[in-house]
Amino acid sequence: MPGSYIPTDYFPVAIVILIATLIGLGTLLLGLVVRPRRPYTQKLSPYESGNPPVGEPRTEFSVKFYIIAMLFVVFDVEAVFLYPWAVAYDKLGMFGFVEMMLFIFILLVGYVYVWKKGAFNWE
């Protein structure tokens, strides 16, 4: 169908997203409407297991979070190649299998390296 591109295959997905959003928002709105509202100081203070709150509520995240996040992104995104490979597995056959094993092996080396370097250690 040259000239236009309508992703009809994804209409169900769109509908699901739409319904999910509506339900989520709807319940929240419903709660807002029906629940009673009687605020006082103690009730508004953040809940910290019953202890009085200490320090600023907004603290900087440790840089370690970033490292973990970065590693996650890298390893996560590589799944992008696994999916089409799995779909076309029958056609690719042995060759595809060897290729994918190589790919995963390289990822594994990276994983081992990161692990041994201690990037996963929190301390």
């Binding site: 309508i6 590693l71 890298v74």
Partner: protein, 101 residues
């Protein structure tokens, strides 16, 4: 609801331009970085659109690669930023000019 190819290409061009503008105009390294991602993704849009329009898979294959490379790039970019930030407590681009001339 027919969306002509040109719309996709124009969208892509607009997002690309926004990305370029963001890269040039913003002074925060993170925002600049996001602008680059924007540029890459605008290319993805046009590639996917071309690919579908021409019924040639190569465009979409390239999209896959762009996504993964962008992820790797993001990781490395952040790593470089962190390394930089450890020695220099700023990510304001106006304050980075130790090397010049």
């Amino acid at each position: 609801m027919l969306v002509p190819l040109s719309w996709y290409i124009i969208l892509s061009a607009v997002i690309f331009s926004i990305g370029v503008f963001g890269f040039l105009a913003r002074r925060n390294l993170i925002i600049m970085f996001i602008s680059i991602e924007l540029m890459l993704n605008s290319v993805n849009i046009s590639l996917a659109a071309f690919s579908h329009y021409l019924q040639v898979m190569r465009g979409q294959i390239l999209v896959f690669f762009v996504i993964t490379v962008a992820a790797a790039e993001a990781a490395i970019g952040l790593a470089i930023l962190i390394a930089y930030y450890k020695n220099n407590p700023t990510i304001k681009v106006d304050e980075i000019n130790l090397l010049k001339g």
